[in-house]
């Protein structure tokens, strides 16, 4: 589709970016870059591409523009397949990813593909998991709820916005596993087409509990219709979420960030990979990006380069084990 970048032709624009990067790289970025959002316009991946693209061009990391290309299909699988088969050496391509990507990789939902086929660049924030109940629920703490599950794994029915085995479902399983609940496959999870649909069912009193992300619950939390039992982060979140206890505080070491980040093609040169890692690192520190995070409810979550690659490997492995536990995969 797009041209592979000729390195010599971009010396001029590259020089400018290097001054900002403040470090000498053998790789110089192309005049323009492409960001694949593996979904329709309007979703999380689309947001990741568009907001990062905008900050990258505003701050002159990329001289031309960063074009967002929507490539929906198979929950990111079409874009992943495209990257590993047709764009293996494209150095001006980044692809948006999130926990949904690792989940599907772990569960073999991108047939014949795995996490090692691409290079993982870094994250730019996360949306943390929450477990919540309606205002009339008998549960007031996560511990209480988990104790009820220990007695009977079908005691609490959860509603979430992902398919069975998806991230919202896994959050419940991770938490229950940490709380030593046995018989995980017996935990009831109702899959809805989106977080808001699931929330309405919980607020309406039809389903016991909600599993989703912090950004989804603000409206009903403010109106008092929803009680958030725990946020699945390492520390308490900043205002206005500072009243919500973490699972860790309640003795359950469940942490579930839905990170937002990027990967690049697997055969892109080491130099270009280093440039992207470094650029994403610097971008994360800028005021412009901090403003984007505040405006869109993204919480701090930073991993890049080697550390991020290791994190993706671990997360994929964890999800694989969990998925086997509940019988989703063999």
């Amino acid at each position: 589709m797009l041209k592979t970048v000729s390195m010599k032709s971009v010396l001029v624009s590259g020089a400018a970016a290097l001054t900002i990067a403040g470090q000498a790289y053998a790789y110089e970025p192309a005049r323009s870059a492409e960001c694949i959002a593996p979904a329709n316009p309007g979703g999380g991946w689309d947001f990741t591409c568009r907001s990062v693209g905008k900050v990258l061009t505003d701050l002159d990391y990329i001289k031309g523009n960063v074009q967002t290309v929507n490539m929906a299909g198979a929950g990111g699988g079409v874009a992943f397949a495209h990257t590993v088969s047709k764009r293996t050496t494209d150095e001006s391509l980044i692809v948006a990813a999130s926990t949904a990507t690792t989940t599907r990789l772990a569960q073999g939902q991108f047939p014949g593909m795995n996490a090692d086929q691409v290079k993982w660049v870094g994250t730019l924030g996360a949306d943390y998991g929450v477990i919540a109940v309606g205002k009339d629920s008998k549960y007031t703490s996560l511990k209480q709820m988990m104790d009820a599950l220990k007695g009977n794994p079908g005691a609490v029915k959860f509603a979430g916005g992902s398919a069975s085995g998806g991230w919202d479902h896994l959050k419940v399983l991770i938490t229950a596993k940490e709380a030593n609940v046995e018989n995980l496959p017996k935990i009831r999870y109702l899959a809805f087409s989106g977080g808001s649909e699931a929330l309405v069912q919980v607020v309406g009193g039809h389903v016991d509990a909600f599993t989703g992300d912090i950004s989804e619950v603000k409206g009903f939390m403010d109106s008092g219709d929803l009680r958030v039992l725990a946020v699945l982060s390492e520390e308490r979140l900043a205002k206005p979420f500072d009243q919500i206890p973490t699972a860790l505080e309640q003795g359950i070491s469940s942490v579930a960030p839905n990170w937002r980040g990027f990967y690049v093609p697997g055969d892109a040169s080491q130099e270009s990979y280093d440039w992207w890692v470094n650029t994403i690192d610097e971008l994360y520190q800028t005021q412009e990006w901090k403003d984007v995070m505040v405006k869109n409810g993204l919480m701090p979550f930073k991993k890049s380069g080697e550390e991020f690659t290791q994190f993706v490997k671990n997360q994929t492995l964890d999800i694989q084990i969990l998925s086997k536990d509940i019988g989703l995969i063999k």
């Binding site: 329709n40 316009p41 309007g42 979703g43 290309v69 929507n70 490539m71 929906a72 299909g73 198979a74 929950g75 699988g77 079409v78 397949a81 569960q107 939902q109 991108f110 047939p111 079908g154 029915k157 992902s162 398919a163 069975s164 085995g165 998806g166 009831r188 109702l190 899959a191 809805f192 087409s193 989106g194 808001s196 649909e197 929330l199 309405v200 069912q201 607020v203 309406g204 009193g205 039809h206 389903v207 409206g219 009903f220 989703l328």
Partner: protein, 505 residues
Amino acid sequence: MGTIELLMQGFVVALSPESLMFALIGAILGTLIGALPGLGPANGVAILIPLAFSLGLSPTSSLILLTSVYAGAMYGGRISSILLNIPGDEPAMMTCLDGYPMALKGKAAEALATSAIASFIGSFIATIGLVILAPILAKFALKFGPSEYFALFALAFATLGGITGKNQFKTLIAAALGLMIATVGIDISSGVQRFTYNNLHLFEGVDFLIAIVGLFAISELFFFLEQHAGDGLKQVALNKLKLTAKDILYIMPASIRGALLGFVSGVLPGAGASLGSFVSYTLEKKYSDKGEFGKGDPRGVAAPEAGNNGAASGALVPMLTLGVPGSGTTAVLLAMLISLNVNPGPMLFEQSPDLVWGVIAALFVGNLVLLLLNIPMVGIFVKLLSIPPKYLMPIVTLVASVGIFSITGSAMDLYFMVGFGVLGYVLRKIEIPLVPVILGMLLGPEMEKNLRHALVLSDGDWSVLLNSGLSIGLWVVAAAGLILPIIVGPILRAKMKRPKDGLPD
């Protein structure tokens, strides 16, 4: 915040220059599409969805554009009914009955103006109904659990054939086809892939939009290729408009009654605009039998026009509040919203008041625009009727292809689109309606999901499906919707046919 306040904020959105522009473009394009024989509002919206995508419009702008197209198509449908005696779509059929005789009497301009005014009244009253009913229903929607939703979807399917539907069996085939297509892709309740054959392009199922554009827009192209219909159609000449205040007052009661009836039938899932215009016309005829209905009575033009426009706005109520489309066109709008990651339902009113109220306010604005457009400028639209389709269809095809490609950037989707175009062509040839296919695709997975959820919640006890007054009520209406047409349908259709047979050609 009160409804009025929200509506005022909506007007702030709707009156912004950008929104006004999209409302105006939508109104003009909609009227044009509606006026072309055979192209109804569902086709109109289907053709323009890709345009909204390729322009990269925001959800609010897209919805304003497309609801204006919807409203415009309802206005435009009457032009070919009156001048050519060919309804642009099914709801416009009733307008032929008195509109064409009026035109033959040399009162074509009056008939067009009357219908424009009645359309305005119909939309206006029904939009007020939407303002009042939608927030109430949105609150009420919290009462809808899985078993209630399941009953509601059953109701939507039961009333699909509708009273005016020609062949219940073909409707059933169409709906079943839609349901079958809907099973392709990941089953969210179990996380298992169904009928995907390890092909990545099938993992998320078949995209509604591609199916819609293929079935409606591309099949239209095939029909054109077949007919070689290069020439415009013969039409009644337009006279100079003479419309007095007295004439307008004369049609007022009929319009208001039509609007209310239309609104109610629009709100019922599955029933839609055809029922609205039909009931309005027959009741108006019964109510005032001293007129000369069937021979060019202005009230016979006003009632069905108010009725079908009323139903158009009414159908937005269940679509916005419950996510259940009340008509074919709202099904298309719903598919578009889902593709823009906007989930209609009670949360929409909580989370995107700008969008909901902006669109409602835009409906008011759009209707005013349409009224202003349609009275003085009707001559221009009439001229457009004589544009040979050979110039029009390539544009339609281009817009559709570019738009579909821009959604996913995948050539595979273009093949799918053409495939659906062929399917649409075949189905139309053997007179299987297309709207139930789309509704089957949209509602099937929801219905399945809700049934399974209900059963999980009850630990497998089927009686959960009748566990509340609300779900029992919905099942009763569903049963009535299924049985009544079989008994009443033939009688009504016989009545509908009679006045039409009496028309001179």
